[in-house]
Amino acid sequence: MAREITLDTVRKEYRTAGATHVAVDDLSLSIPEGSFTTLVGPSGCGKTTTLRMIAGLETPTTGTLSFGEEDVTNLSPQERNCAMVFQSIALYPHMSVKDNIGYGLRVQGVPSDVRDERIEEAAATLQITEQLEKMPAELSGGQQQRVALGSAFVQDPDVLLLDEPMSDLDAKLKAELRVEVQRLHQELDATVVYVTHDQTEAMTMSDQVILLNNGQLEQFAPPGELFDNPVSQYVAEFIGTPSTNLLPATITRTGDRYTLEGETFSVPVPPRYFADHAEASVTVGVRPQYLSTDDGDHELEIEAEVIEQLGTEFVVHGYSGDGTPVDAVSSAFGDVEPGDEFIARFDAADLFVFDTNGQRICHGEQLTRRDEVRTT
């Protein structure tokens, strides 16, 4: 039965040779029961530590962790009904695939006929029926990962934890297994927590994404919101491929009119967000996907350097007039050659504005409230 996972000011410190390293810094969040939630962030951000605390393999230094109403902070991994898939796959090399999948059931004392039935079912779901009698070393990397998923599947866990299960696989296998993992989520009544450093995996698979930065929660939102509504420059840069373009700009004030002045653009903005930022430097974020050649009220001059073709789309890597790196993605860039200069257009509604600390001042539609922006 899926259970909600609640972290209340969970902190994990490691002491090494006199120095204290904070891996997870007072993290509070609540992962809804039955959801598919991804923990994402660069290496060293505390995502794996958080997952291991949920599994019971690490104990929080302070704070409490609960599954539903039950406080599990001090329960051992054996006492929590979790299943976990490890980055290193962690199959038992001396057991056949069948015994590997059934090991958890054997430990729980499930009779062998029931066990065999569940193993068969898991193997069929994951298309590894042919491999059941083989040893793990005889399997390919993708098959090994399917076996690991199968071991988690037969346990019918309340909580399914996956720790970067695909980081060692090639791109094609990753795409296959992404589908497999999501199918498991649909068939299991479990809360799934998935750790990855790959934001593409996070964005494509999950109901919501937890983005960590240095052990702290940066943003916890559905993928779409992370893309369209990043709370900080960090989120805007981390989420999306290519990364969000960041352009330097200043807020100028003339009377009660505020304008966002960049190298090649000048965007009137509503005063209510910028009263504290008059004459201040800011960073403007615009996603490469929102730069186009044909429409948009504002323009940006780009000198193309490298063009990549991705199916029907073209990714242009170049520089703006003042030398800031700028990427643009569109199917309309087919004619662009390296060295070309062209005008990319965008709307004020596609911008994010961040202050010098990287915190968002405002974004999107907030910039275009007609009643508030004074253009005359």
Partner: protein
Amino acid sequence: MTRSALTALGEGAAGSLVSQQVQRRVKRAAVIVIAALVAVFVTVPVYVMVAVAIQSPTAVFADGNVNLLVTAATARNFVVLLEETNTVRYFINSLIVTASSTLLSTALAVGAGYGLTRFEFAGKTLAARAVLFAYMFSPIVLAIPLYVIFYTLGLLDSYFALTLALTAISAPFTIWLMWQYFQTVPIAIEESAWVRGASRTRTIWEVVLPVARPGYISAAIFSFAVAWNDFTMSRVVMSSEEMYTITVGASLFLDRVSIGWGETMAVSLLICIPPFLIAVFLQNYLLQGFSVGGLE
């Protein structure tokens, strides 16, 4: 083993100043020379031992020559050993202390290796270095202090004392071997078992030990070899004749008028049998374990 040795000699070492054809010839010549050396220094003595052991002394030393071509095999030397010496007793003593020391040393090594790789504790690095340092001691350096200790405790002339003494020689290496081996056993497979509900003890029996089998079999073979071939410790610890191990007992045969070369070679042949059987049946494990220890 041979293959990597050949690679080390420069198989396909493109980019060298010497052409690959010359390298190939040098390699072939080197293999022949090494094989010849092995034959002269290992095979010939073994052959002499067997030849003298299975012929009667009169046949071997006929006409004042040493006749090494086996013409008629006989069990006469072995019969003399059984009838006139305590060989069987020595052999049993050796088996007892070797088996106990092998068990003790391997168990120590598995425990220590697991602990050194799985737990953090103060002085861990120091402990690990001390183990390697202890391995440098020659048995005779330990023998005299151990004699003093066993004398004080009243343990001299016992299987127990000799078992401890032999373990003192082999344990530093076996601990080091298991410590290296456990580093290759991923902790994730244990964690995976814990998450599935298996206790730490159950995980050790069902997951860790089976995976570490090549490692502890190597450790056992090594401690077996140390204990079986030991002379120093047995000589120092065992004082009464009926407690001698086969190595010490056999060394005293030549002092006796009634025992000649034929019987001495026969007992040497007997000493060789257990190590030979172990080498034949367990060599795959030995190579697997030592390759992890970086000794291949």
